[in-house]
Point group: D2
Chain length 265, copies 4
C-alpha cells in the first residue's frame, strides 16, 4: 500500500508558548475582555467578527432556543446526570444527541430548502414562483414543509414574529425571509388554516440571510441548547425530578403485568 502524501491543514486556531490565535484573532489581545460569547460564536461560524447589526441579529438567533422548559433533550440530560453526576459533560452530550431532524435540527431542513431554492441571494428572484415550485416539489415527494407549525404556539410563534422584527431592523429581511413567509402562506392556504412559521423556520431563513450554510446552521441550535442543558444539570443537582419521573414511568408501564403476575400467584 503506497503511502498517500497529503498534508493535514486547518484554519481554525494555532498556538505557541505565549500566544493563541483563533481565526486570525489574538485570543488574549483581541478577544478576552473585548468580544462577547455570541460574537466569538459568529466568528467561529463565519470567519469574521460581526458588525453591530450582525451582532444583534446573531445573538438573537442564538438565544432563541436556549430554553423551552422540559423538552425531550432536557429530560435526556436529567436522566443522564443522575446516573453520572461526576460527568456533567456526558449529560449535556446526551441531551444534544437528540437535536436531529425533528426538534431543533429541523432548522437544517428548512435552510437547506431555502438555500437550494435561492442559490444566489443577490440575483433577482420571483418569490411567488419559487415558493410555488418549492411547495409543489414537497407535495410530490409527500414531504412536510419544514419550519412551520407548532403544537403550543398558535396561531403564531411569538419567537418567529420577534426575530423577523429584529431582522427588519438590522437589515436581514431579504429573499430567504420573504420565501419562508410565502411558503408558509401557500401551505396555510392549502391546509385551510394558518400555519405559522416557527422558531426554527425563522432562524433558518434569517441565518441564510447572514450567509451561514445550511450544512452548519444546526450548530446555532446545538450551541443554544447546550447552554440550556447546563441549566438543567444545575437544577437537577439541587431540585431533582428525574428519579421521580423514572419511578412513575416504570410503575405505569409495568402495572398490568405485575397485577397479572400477582393474581396468578
Amino acid at each position: 500500500m503506497a503511502a498517500r502524501i497529503e498534508k493535514l491543514t486547518s484554519d481554525i486556531a494555532w498556538s505557541t508558548h505565549d500566544r493563541i490565535m483563533v481565526k486570525g484573532q489574538d485570543l488574549c489581545g483581541d478577544i478576552l475582555g473585548k468580544q462577547s460569547l455570541g460574537d466569538v460564536a459568529f466568528l467561529i461560524m463565519t470567519d469574521r467578527l460581526p458588525s453591530e447589526n450582525e451582532s444583534i441579529m446573531f445573538n438573537a438567533l442564538a438565544v432563541t432556543l436556549i430554553e423551552h422548559g422540559m423538552t425531550p433533550s432536557a429530560i435526556a440530560t436529567r436522566m443522564t446526570v443522575i446516573g453520572a453526576p461526576e460527568a456533567m459533560q456526558a449529560a449535556v452530550a446526551a441531551g444534544l444527541a437528540g437535536l436531529g431532524s425533528v426538534f431543533v435540527g429541523s432548522m437544517e431542513t428548512a435552510a437547506h430548502l431555502l438555500q437550494d431554492a435561492i442559490p444566489d441571494p443577490g440575483a433577482p428572484v420571483d418569490i411567488d414562483v419559487v415558493a410555488g415550485e418549492v411547495v409543489a416539489d414537497l407535495r410530490s415527494r409527500k414531504a412536510q414543509v419544514p419550519g412551520i407549525g407548532h403544537p403550543i404556539h398558535k396561531p403564531v410563534d411569538p419567537r418567529a414574529v420577534r426575530l423577523f422584527e429584529i431582522a427588519e431592523q438590522t437589515g436581514f429581511s431579504g429573499p430567504y425571509v420573504a420565501l419562508m413567509k410565502r411558503i408558509a402562506g401557500i401551505a396555510g392556504e392549502r391546509a385551510g388554516k394558518e400555519l405559522p412559521i416557527n422558531a426554527t423556520g425563522a432562524i433558518a431563513a434569517i441565518a441564510s440571510e447572514m450567509g451561514i450554510s445550511w450544512s452548519v446552521i444546526r450548530g446555532i441550535g446545538v450551541i443554544s441548547r447546550c447552554i440550556g442543558l447546563v441549566g438543567h444539570v444545575r437544577e437537577e443537582l439541587t431540585n431533582p425530578i428525574a428519579r421521580e419521573i423514572t419511578a412513575r414511568v416504570s410503575r405505569e408501564t409495568s402495572a398490568d403485568a405485575i397485577r397479572a403476575s400477582e393474581q396468578s400467584a
Copy 2:
C-alpha cells in the same frame, strides 16, 4: 407498592401559546434583540442577568476555551462527523463527552478545592495558612494540584494572565483568586520551578468569585467547547482531515503485523 405523591417542579422556563418565560424574563420581550448569548448563559447559570462588570468578566471566561486547535475533543468530533454527516449534533456531543477530569473539566476539581477551602468568601481568611493546608492535604493524598501547569504555555499561560487582569479591572479579584495564586506559588516552590496557573485554574478561581458553584462550573467549559466544536464540524465538511488521520493511524498500528503476515505467506 404505595404511590409516592411528589410534585415535579422547575424554575427554569414555562410557556403559554403566546409567551415564553425563561428565568423570570420574557423571552420575546426582554431577551431577543436585547440580551447577548453570553449574558443569557450567565442568567441560566446564576438566575439573574449580569451587571456590566459581570458581563465583561463572564463573557471573557466563556470565550477562553472556545478554541485551542486540534484538541482531543476536536478530533473526536471530526471522527464522528465523517461517519454521520447527517447528525452534526451527535458529532458535537461526541467531542463534549471527553471534557472530563483531565481536560477542561479540570476546572471543576480546582473550583471544588477552592470553594471547600473558603466556604464563605465574605469572611476574613488567612490566605497563606489556607493555601498551606490545601497543599499539605493534596500531598498527603498524593493528589496533584489542579489548575496549574501546561504542556505548551510556559512559563506562564497567557490566558490566565489576561483573565486575572480583567478580574482586577472588574472587581473579581478576591480571596479565591488570591488562594489559587498562593497555592500555585507554594507548589512551584516545592517543585523548584515556576508552575503557572493555567486557563482552567484561572476560570475556576474567577467563577468562584462570581458565585458559581463548583458543581456546575464545568458547564462554562462545556458551553465554550460546544461553540468550538461546531467550528470543527464546519471545517471538516469543507476541508476534511479525519479520513487521512484514520488511514495513517491504521497503517502505522498494523504495519508490523501485516509485514510479518506477508513474510510468512
Copy 3:
C-alpha cells in the same frame, strides 16, 4: 389545557421484588446461565429466543463488525477516554455516535432498500426485474448503491463471502440475499469492475431474511461496535496512543502558521 389520558405501555421488561421478566422470560430462571449474550440480543430484537440455526446466523452477524482496527469510531473513543478516564461509558458513547449513514449505519440504507423492494419475502418475486428497477431508481436519484464496495477488501469482502456461506448453511439465503447479489452484479456491470458486496451489505440482506426491520437493523452494528470500543478503551488505558496522535495532528496543522509567525517576529 385538558389532560390527555393516554396510558404509557411497554412490553420489554418488568420486575417485582423477587423477579425480573424480560420479553416474557424469567431473567433468573430462564436466562442467566442458560442463554448467551447473542441469543438474548436476538430476543431483544425479535421478541423470541432463536432456533439453533437462527442463533448461529445471528451471532455471526453480530460479531462481524466488532473489530476493524483503528476506525474513526475507535479513534473517537480513545480521544474521549484520555479526557474523561473516570467515565468510560462516555468514551464508548462518543465512538458509537459516528455510526451513521457512512460507516456501519449504512446497513440501514441497504436494508431499507431491500425491504422496500420486497415487502413480502414469502410472495413470488422476479429478482432480475426487481434488481433492475432498484438500480434504475437509484441512478435516477443519483444515489449510490448501498452495501457494495470497500476501500481495502477487494475484489471481495471476505466477511460477506463467509456470511453468505453461513446463510446458505442455516437456511437464510432467500430473496433478500439474491436481490442484494443481483444488485451488486448490475452495478458492477455498469461500473465496468467487480463491486463486491461489503460486510454491511451482507448483514443488511441476511438480517432482512431473519425478519429484522430496516428501522432497527443498525442496532446490530451498534451492539458489535460497542463491544469493540470497550476493547479500545481497555487498550488506550494501558498502551495509550491518543495523546501522540493529537500532538502530531496539532503540529502538522499549525506548522505553517507558527513558522510564518516566527519569521515575522
Copy 4:
C-alpha cells in the same frame, strides 16, 4: 519544537485485502459461524477465547443488566430517538452516557475496592480481617459500601443469588466473592438490617475472579445496556411513549406558573 518519535502500536486488530485478524484470531476462518457474541466479547476483554465454564459465567454476567425496564438510561434513549429518528446510534449513545458511578458503573467502584483489598487472588488471605478493614476504611471516609442494597429487590437481589450459584458451579467462587459477601454481612450487621449484594456487586466480584481489571469492568455493563437500549429504540419507534412523558412533565412543572400568569392577566 523537536518532533517526538514515538510509534503508534495496537494489538487489537489488523487487516489486509483478504483477511481480518482480531486478537490473533482470523475473523472469517475462526470466528464467524463458530464463536458467539458473548465469547468474542470475552476475547476482547481478556485477549483469549473462553473455556466452557468461562463462557457460561461470562455470558451470564453480560446478560444480567441487559434489561430492567424503564431505567433512566432507557428514558434518555427514548427521548433522543424521537428527536433524531434518523440516528439511532446517537439515541443508544445518549442512554449509555449515564452509566456512571450511580447506576451500572457502580460495578467499577465495587471491583476497584475488591481488587485493591486482594491484589493477588492466589495468595492466602484472611477474608474476615480484610473485610473488617475495608468496611472500617469506608466508614472513616464516610463512603458508602458499593454493590449492596437495592430499592426494589429486597431482602435479596435474585440476580446476585443466581450469579453466585453459577459462579459456584463454574469454579468462580473464590476470594473476591467471599470478600464481597463478608463485606455485605458486616455492613448489614452495622445497619441492623439485611443489606443484600445487588447485581452490580455480584458482577464486580465474579468478574474480578475472572481476572478482569476494575478499570474496564464497567464495560460489561455498557455492553449489556447497549443491547437493551437498542430494544428501547425499537419499541419507541412502534409504541412511542416519550412524547407523552414529555408532555406530562412539562405540564406538571409549569402548571403553577401558568396559572399565576393567567390569574394576573
